[in-house]
Symmetry: C2
Subunit: 453 residues, 2 copies
């Protein structure tokens, strides 16, 4: 199919539904990828959604559902006829079912439970025992195991038996009598080795694994460092309990980066996309920080009140307050965002603090001198006073150095205290820098202009 | 091996080098993963690096090198003895060699070229013809092809012949006489089907592909949407030219998100990690925006000068200027970071602008009322004047609404004009909002306090 475009799919499907040409529709849906069917369902009203789901092959329908919100997944499974629903559920990955059950209301979960094949129930309960952002929470159970004393031949035979049902089949995991992971063999090696070879003679024993209780970020880091497509998950006893695939990890990386970007913007991370978040969610995720920052920034008012004398004697000083605060905030934000990302990627550690401090001092001194010069001429043209111009110039330089340093160091100090560096958001840095720059400004003014504070 | 820790590896390796126990070292290195050997090399001085590389199996050494900077890759290959160097190069992926050649100085590239196996040269030149951030720039050539009229049996036979040399083996790509991609078959299906089956009867013909000239972000989006582990890359004629694997895409995602975060912080993205960037790089990546923003923010000075009369008659108004600018900047940054991330993930499109505008108006009105109330009582306690307090309260509310709207809408407008939304960084939003909030403040002051502008 040439044109892979959801709107185009939608038109075609709705035409067929018009004509009640269900057979054509069934064939058409076979040509679509589960993701596309999912996106399509998102665009249609329920009556049409149900027809489409019942016409789609259970495997594809199951995958398509995973692209919808959990509430929609529940609603559709609930409103579908018993038979289609149970077929789809039986085709869903056990990890996907577990995620659904954990996301929806317990009563609704009960209804779904009733449709789950008996043999699944236990393993699903097991999956649900791990927090959703842990390695165990994102792992799949649909992998293939073998024993080390088996021959290649026997593994292939075993593979032919169970392989069809499993989704993760690029590796065979070799476990001992108690289920401890002792080796791994790729499907490629399975094909390339002689049928009579014993697995233990060819398997890789030196395996990168992650604890089921570890944070999903830990799993993501391992997979991107070691360039892994699949990461086996073990429990404290080293027993193999699941596998994480690269396509799941891509979502984790996006998710974690989104959280960081939201925090850097000074709001608590949204769990849903912006458009799907309710007013009250958006309100509650944003008001908190704003109030905290307001309270912090309130200090500036008291500082200014304290320098009321200076202000009224040289009103011109007021002209440059926003400019100076701006300069400081901007350079502080620059520095912090560079450092925070470095920390997130593990490129920067707390031990580097001295190196970074020294580096920032030099960079910001360079920037400070350039900006200070610009500042001098600007302030001079606006205020007509070389005195005020000098005050502005010196302040710009000092503020740039101070703010870059604060912006760079705060996140590292925060990390040292186990705080998420991303809480040192642009707004927070700006606020801290605002206060400092005003103090600097007025003290320099008093010195240079010989004013009585 | 229990303890997977680079420092621990380093100690052990250096001990063995002390004792000149090279055989033990060789065996020890076999236990390490290429990534770990790479990290280890990063920690050692050249003499030791060279010993380690010459003791490591070429395949592992080749992979380990890929974890180092291009300049280090070149230096080591250049200083190694001819034989080890050529062995390692022969074991490197052609895409890795191409990346190296493109990154280093042409003269150095010539030296490396000399060591590349003849049969590689042409395909490497081909890879080098694609920009490094295009799909073609990150694709690998080490995949397996078959023809649609072959039987499963014949493909397996072919696989046994060529499979060992190839790195991407989870799928067999089926091409026609002119190399056009006509189908794909997973290794799993190869094993599960009857030996006599014709490929064309079992292969999948409905394949997601990406153009070699497309941006790597396009490839990343496809792979995470469709949950693909491997994405075939085709040229304009639909000929298969390479494949992209999920582990490469993970790096792309990290890379793109890093660029966004740097831009959001108001600096041009760094190409190297912060710690490896030189002073001059950091300076030049940061000064540009600071000057632009300075120039923009300079407007505030003229505004203030224009309201000099108001300022000198009611100095108390000055007290709250930083606070108001802060409030506006913070809410603007919040809104913009939420929207920018939404745009980056494709959750928000330009068409949503009206919905978002309406949503922001309501959210910010809610927030504005709360903050306005807080602002009133605060301003009243500081200034002792209910008039000034009223001005502050009203301004806070207005500024919050205006700034959230600007913060939310600017990135979408930018996207509409094909600008990277991340250019609408916190600093830029803050600056724009600064100016607006001052105007609002003074006009409200003049109205409420009946002052002559």
């Amino acid at each position: 199919m040439e044109q892979r475009n959801i709107d185009f799919f939608k038109e075609t499907v709705e035409e067929m539904l018009e004509k009640q040409d269900l057979e054509a529709l069934r064939l058409y849906l076979e040509e679509l990828h589960p993701y596309e069917i999912g996106a399509l369902l998102d665009e249609l009203e329920e009556s049409k959604q149900l027809v489409i789901l019942s016409l789609t092959l259970p495997e594809a329908a199951a995958e398509a559902l995973e692209h919808l919100d959990f509430d929609d997944q529940y609603r559709l499974l609930d409103h579908l006829d018993e038979e289609s629903a149970s077929k789809i559920i039986a085709a869903m990955g056990r990890d996907a079912i577990a995620d659904l059950l954990m996301a929806i209301h317990p009563n609704k979960a009960q209804e779904i439970m009733a449709m789950i094949p008996r043999e699944y129930l236990e393993s699903i309960k097991f999956l649900m025992s791990y927090p959703e952002d842990s390695a165990g929470g994102i792992m799949s159970l649909d992998y293939i195991q073998a024993r080390q004393y088996w021959t290649i031949e026997r593994v292939i035979e075993h593979f032919r038996k169970v392989g069809r049902k499993q989704s993760v089949t690029n590796y065979i995991y070799i476990v001992d009598a108690v289920g401890k992971l002792v080796g791994v063999l790729s499907l490629k090696e399975l094909l390339l080795n002689e049928p009579k070879t014993k697995i233990e003679d060819v398997m890789h024993t030196n395996i990168i694994t992650v604890l089921a209780t570890a944070d999903q970020e830990e799993a993501a880091k391992l997979m991107s460092q070691y360039d892994l497509m699949i990461l086996p998950v073990v429990n404290e006893q080293g027993r193999l309990v699941g596998v994480i695939t690269a396509d799941d990890i891509m979502d984790v990386i996006e998710e974690e980066d989104t959280e960081d970007i939201h925090r850097l913007g000074g709001s608590q991370p949204l769990d849903l996309p912006y458009l799907e978040s309710t007013l009250t969610t958006l309100f509650s995720k944003r008001i908190g920080w704003l109030v905290v920052l307001f309270a912090t920034q309130a200090v500036t008012s008291n500082i200014l009140k304290h320098y009321e004398g200076v202000l009224s004697s040289v009103v011109a000083l007021t002209f440059f307050m926003p400019l100076l605060a701006g300069v400081g905030g901007n350079s502080g934000t620059q520095a912090s965002s560079l450092i925070i990302r470095g920390l997130a990627l593990g490129e920067i550690t707390v031990q580097d603090i001295a190196v970074i401090l020294f580096k920032e001092l030099r960079v910001s001194a360079l920037i400070g001198i350039v900006m200070g010069t610009i500042g001098y001429f600007f302030a001079w043209t606006v205020s007509g006073s070389t005195g005020v111009a000098a005050v502005v110039a010196v302040t710009v330089t000092v503020v740039l150095i101070v703010s870059s340093t604060i912006g760079a160091i705060l996140p590292i100090v925060g990390r040292a205290f186990r705080l998420d560096p991303a809480v040192f958001s642009a707004p927070l840095i700006t606020t801290v820098v605002d206060i400092t720059s005003l103090m600097v400004y007025f003290n320099i003014a008093i010195k240079l202009l010989k004013l009585g504070g």
